[in-house]
Amino acid sequence: MRPGAGELDEQFTAFVRSRGEHHLRMATLLTGNREAAEDLVQASLLKLYQVWSRIDTSAEPDAYLRRIIVNTRRSWWRARRWQETPVPEVPEPAAGEDAAERHALGALVRQALARLPRQQRAVLVLRYWEDLPEAEVASLLGCSAGAVKTHAHRGLRALRESLGDLGPIAVNQTSGPARG
């Protein structure tokens, strides 16, 4: 069932239909948890919708939403007086050995990501999943371009250490993120 016509702006609706999944995946990588990511993206879309009529959405709505997601995530984190410990969801195993193996690898990578300091994780996701230039990542995270380089370097090193011999297997079994 789709939202009723006229409930939300048509352009906004089209944007969410075409780009919602992409931002949900980015948020999943940032939070390490699909449900937290859904909350984060839904809250961020609501914020975006409230200013939708005032922004130039023909230019770069992705950039607006990305910035809102990053800010909202940081704001939620800071407002917490004790830190919630997200538990990565383990997806239902799919049929077939290959599918099960890929699920397991995905879970391992997600756990390895969850163990990274938040800033390192954010840099890896924004720099390499979102494919943003260093300067833009630095602007989003409120740090210097040099800090982005440092976080990227240390983040990758930590991922490799976490995954050990499984890292190359994971890399060889995937073709990378779908761009777009």
Binding site: P3, E7, L46, R67, L105, G106, V109, L113, E134, G176
Partner: protein
């Protein structure tokens, strides 16, 4: 520092992609799901704003509202007494102590060092507050802003740029997840700068809570009556909350003297717990009408996160 080499960048992209393997992207389905959720939140937000406005009116004209709620024919006395006391609390000042206890219904993850103790003073009419936490945090509330001083060891984790204080806007409702319901708001508030939220409790009462009179109760220097209500699966909390139960002690002058608020979260819910998690907040209130002032920290010591602000 050398940038990550292009091959390494490719390696990171592929590693990140494994998180979603072998689930294919279904943009249309995901987009429709998000749109439905945004529609629901948009509608709830408008409804909640109306409720909050009603609560604010009640708080602003507390005396009149209290009299009205007590004397309206047909309102059960227990509900009227609790409504009156919470309306009053939302417009006055007092000292507060709070003990937060976490309990898991089965072996599972702990989110906090339990119990956590909070002491402080609040003036809900003037939006002022000072709170000290047993985990080393200190919070000042001045108007629509909350300033939190973190223990030095946590400054790095919270990315404060070496500043000892952080600043969060309390007046911007978008700083909290838009659960869009009083129950969801309370579930969020229990771990926020303002764990005592009489207006959300009032909205919860208005959503159909049955209040029971549990008889006489007394504390140091006061006597009163204990009331209790439970909301199973509060509206709008989805898979987050199983129930919210409150025990409220109201003294002979109509002040809330103590309150125990128990929130039972769903196992595997949005807190990510494998076990069901129960938080109990034990409040005590005293020194009603207390006058105090709060000075914000120097601007040079605050990390406002300006570099992250969204400008529209």
């Amino acid at each position: 520092m050398e940038d990550v080499h292009a091959d390494e960048a490719s390696e990171v992209r592929r590693l990140l992609a494994t998180v979603f393997e072998p689930v294919p992207a279904d943009s249309a389905a995901a987009g429709d799901g998000l749109l439905r959720a945004v529609c629901r939140r948009h509608t709830r937000r408008r409804r909640t704003r109306a409720l909050v406005s009603a609560g604010a009116v009640a708080a602003a004209g507390a005396a009149a509202a209290v009299l009205l709620s007590v004397t309206v024919a047909g309102v059960p006395p227990a509900l009227a007494a609790v409504t009156s006391a919470l309306s009053r609390a939302s417009a006055e000042s007092f000292r507060m102590t709070l003990k937060v206890t976490q309990h898991n219904t089965a072996p599972g993850d702990s989110f906090m060092r339990s119990p956590l103790y909070i002491t402080g003073k609040l003036d809900l009419k003037r939006n002022l507050g000072e709170e000290t936490l047993s985990n080393g945090w200190r919070t000042l509330i001045v108007g629509g802003e909350a300033y939190t001083k973190l223990p030095p060891a946590q400054e790095k984790a919270y990315e404060t740029g070496g500043k000892p204080w952080t600043e969060e806007s309390l007046s911007d409702p978008s700083n909290a997840p838009p659960y869009g319901s009083a129950g969801g708001q309370l579930a969020w508030d229990l771990n926020s700068d303002r764990p005592f939220n009489p207006q959300a409790l009032l909205a919860l009462l208005n959503s159909g809570a049955q209040v029971r009179d549990e008889g006489p109760v007394s504390g140091p220097g006061w006597t009163g009556t204990r009331y209790r209500f439970t909301l199973p699966h509060p509206d709008g909390t989805g898979r987050l909350v199983n129930s919210i139960t409150c025990t409220v002690d109201v003294d002979g002058q109509g002040h809330v003297r103590s309150m125990a608020q128990t929130t039972a979260f769903v196992a595997g819910g949005k807190l990510g717990a494998r076990a069901g998690t129960i938080y109990t907040l034990d409040f005590t209130f005293s020194d009603f009408g207390l006058r105090f002032s709060v000075t914000p920290p120097p601007a040079s010591q605050i990390d406002p996160g300006e570099g992250l602000a969204v400008q529209f």
